[in-house]
């Protein structure tokens, strides 16, 4: 049953990735004129003489003289078989080289954020439900409303502002200055962990808020059920009673929401990283788009989408493994 489910999901993954690649390719082609125009304009404005023959040579180099389906084929086979995402015009470097350092950071921030959301939302939801209408409950209710309504980048702005006013820190980043261009080492990783909680909390805020409310609502429903009263009358301790039954049941819908949480987290990460100046894919994407460096931009959209889809798939499989009932409800 489980293998069948995984098999079906894997089968669907192929077409899914194909459509994502087509969308990304369309995005690369989208700006008016072809992608060489910007490059030629820049070369000319920098005083470099570019003759028509040279433009033609460049055109052939990038395969721009071919039809669109052929170009797509060239582009996707290069990615699949050689890991070659094309060349960035602004960086004058292969796209894969630019992204190699940044994609893992994006993935790390996103995964940590998802974990953070769970770790925060479940206990707070349980506490709010068991202490309904208490001061703490009202406090978290208030926080969750604000959290849902505040886009991550605004939260990041406010955070930066407070950090600047109170601690005179003008940039957050992911590393202290001495580690910024240092090679990876334990010290650098520890330095990163000291910084990474800021984007995690900011990106995770909205999702934590939503999930906290779901958890609280589910718990309140469960606490009203007969079996809780029975368990209590039999003399189970309150903690044991909570953890053993209602919390477990309530957690199912919370966990199954990861499918729609992940795209949101990645979206949030892109913007928050720009504001906080974190060297993930977000800031590069914006710069690439502003410069119409489309191979770079398209590749980032492609990679982010593929990461999200695969992440969702993994979490779905884990979920089904944890709770077989979901299989029949058809998450796919």
């Amino acid at each position: 049953m489980l293998t069948q489910y995984i098999g079906r999901r894997l089968l669907l993954l192929g077409p899914l990735l194909f459509v994502i690649s087509v969308i990304s390719f369309v995005l690369i082609q989208l700006p008016p004129g072809d992608i060489l125009n910007m490059e030629v304009l820049r070369l000319r404005s920098a005083g470099t003489q570019v003759s028509e023959e040279q433009v033609e040579a460049l055109r052939q180099l990038y395969g721009l003289d071919k039809s669109l389906p052929e170009q797509y084929w060239l582009w996707i086979t290069n990615i699949l078989f050689e890991g070659n995402f094309g060349t960035s015009f602004t960086y004058v470097k292969p796209v894969s080289e630019i992204l190699a350092a940044r994609v893992p950071l994006t993935a790390a921030v996103s995964i940590f954020t998802a974990v953070f959301v769970w770790i925060m939302a479940v206990p707070i939801g349980v506490y709010s439900a068991t202490h309904q209408y208490s001061l703490v409950d009202y406090f978290w209710t208030f926080v969750s409303f604000i959290g849902v309504a505040t886009p991550g980048f605004l939260l990041a702005l406010v955070f930066l502002w407070m950090a600047f006013v109170m601690f005179d820190i003008s940039a957050i980043g992911l590393f202290s200055q001495e580690y910024e261009s240092a090679p990876w080492s334990w010290a650098k990783i520890i330095n990163m962990l000291q910084h990474i909680w800021i984007p995690i909390v900011i990106i995770g805020m909205a999702h934590t808020a939503g999930m906290m409310r779901t958890m609280r609502g589910m718990m309140l429903d469960e606490l009203n059920k007969q079996y809780v009263i029975t368990a209590r009358s039999k003399g189970l301790t309150e903690t044991r009673l909570l953890v053993k039954y209602p919390v477990r049941t309530s957690m199912n819908p919370v966990f199954s929401t990861i499918g729609w949480m992940l795209p949101g987290i990645i979206s949030g990460e892109v913007l928050v990283s720009m504001v906080l100046n974190i060297p993930t894919t977000g800031p590069v994407l914006l710069q690439a788009l502003l410069n119409q460096d489309m191979f770079l931009a398209g590749s980032i959209v492609f990679i982010l989408s593929v990461l999200t889809v695969i992440g969702t798939l993994i979490s779905d499989i884990l979920l089904v493994w944890l709770d077989p009932r979901i299989r029949y409800e058809g998450v796919a």
Partner: protein
């Protein structure tokens, strides 16, 4: 403990309470039409009511922006760069004189920071219906009447000014127009797109339906923002404000329709399987009557809820895109473009009023969420909660 017991017995307590209520009121509840029940339920949701009033107010601001804003968006006051929000005084040294502002005098302090001082000798009373910058009202007639102001000699900057000495309050009011309508127009477009594509999907069924459903699954499972950014970046820079406005709306809805379509579709399918639909069908009610009498009213309310709850996403989308410079382009003003000025954090630290537009975004989104919650409760007036 007593708290939770009381809650556990929720419906029972409610029943007991309603027994105390006079019989006449009970009769009213039992004989109330669905519309009355919905209204009754909605009235219980205080926050939703407050939200509707506040949102209505914001939309009035947007509609009458030229009249309510004391200045034009591009009116730059030389010598009033980064002036702080005006203090409105009621009393001067001699006692009560009604609302007025003092004149402002700009200068530099010892550390060469820009500072402004109130000039006590200059008093400008705040008056209603003053003449100021002229504008064309809704493209109908030319006028220079503004809701309030201090006349030509003085200046009133309720939210301070920006880096070019433009009145932030006026700009926020004008920005309301784009930020608030883009949400509505975007959701409307998404809805139409969803209806058309959903219609095709339902009409042809089979493979077409399957492909479209998978496409919807795909669109909701990949991150929206990078797609929005890439599409928005393709909008030509030389387009004028109105073209850009519509292009951004289209970009927002092309990516955003899938989520809305999925929610609505799910609702419709589950309603079709509800007991009362089956019961009606079994009793020999015609399909037409089932659809118009039983399904449409409920569909309509669910759709209204789904639409209300997806407006905030659109508003945040526009704000985010404009904030990073890919959305609405200056000289057009939206809350997002206003927030661009706060990208330099040192700027915000010295001039915190630059963050005021953020407050408008948060409040608006909050209000839409509350309103959606209230509507959702009201849409299903028979549920117990």
């Amino acid at each position: 403990m007593t708290e939770s017991v009381r809650h556990e017995a929720g419906p029972a307590v409610e029943a007991a309470e309603s027994a105390d209520v006079s019989d006449r009121e009970k009769q009213e509840l039992y004989t109330a039409s669905q519309r009355q029940l919905i209204w009754r339920r909605f009235r219980r949701h205080r926050l939703a009511q407050v939200s509707i009033v506040m949102l209505a107010l914001l939309y009035v601001l947007a509609a009458f922006a030229e009249f309510i804003a004391p200045y034009e968006t591009s009116h730059d006051f030389k010598g009033f760069v980064y002036a702080p929000p005006a203090k409105i005084h009621l009393f001067d040294e001699d006692g009560f004189v009604g609302p007025f502002v003092y004149g402002l005098k700009g200068g530099r302090d010892e550390s060469y920071q820009r500072i402004f001082e109130e000039v006590k000798e200059e008093q400008y009373p705040v008056r209603l219906f003053v003449r100021g910058d002229s504008y064309e009202f809704w493209g109908l007639f030319e006028t220079d009447l503004h809701l309030f102001g201090v006349g030509e000699e003085g200046q009133i900057f309720l939210f301070g000014t920006d880096r070019l000495g433009r009145d932030l309050f006026s700009r926020v009011i004008y920005g309301t127009r784009i930020s608030l309508t883009i949400g509505l127009v975007g959701v409307f477009l998404s809805f139409v797109l969803g209806l058309i594509i959903g219609g095709i999907s339902g009409y042809f069924g089979g493979v077409v339906d399957e492909v479209i459903q998978r496409l919807i699954d795909l669109l909701v499972s990949i991150p929206q923002l990078p797609l929005w950014m890439a599409l928005a970046a393709a909008v030509p820079r030389e387009w004028d404000s109105i073209q850009t406005y519509f292009a951004i709306t289209v970009v927002l809805s092309i990516v955003g329709w899938a989520g809305l379509a999925r929610t609505v579709r799910g609702r419709l399918l589950s309603l079709r399987e509800e007991d009362f639909t089956v019961a009606a069908r079994v009793s020999g009610v015609s399909e037409w009557r089932i659809i118009t009498k039983h399904l449409l009213p409920l569909f309509a309310s669910y759709i209204v809820v789904a639409i209300t709850l997806s407006v905030p996403g659109m508003i945040i989308g526009e704000t985010s895109l404009s904030f990073i410079g890919l959305g609405i382009q200056p000289p057009a003003v939206s809350w997002g473009t206003l927030l661009q000025d706060s990208q330099m954090i040192a700027n915000v630290a010295l001039h915190p009023w630059l963050l005021i537009p953020a407050l408008f975004v948060i409040v608006t989104v909050l209000m839409f969420n509350f309103m959606g919650d209230g509507l959702r409760d009201a849409a299903d007036p028979y549920s117990i909660n």
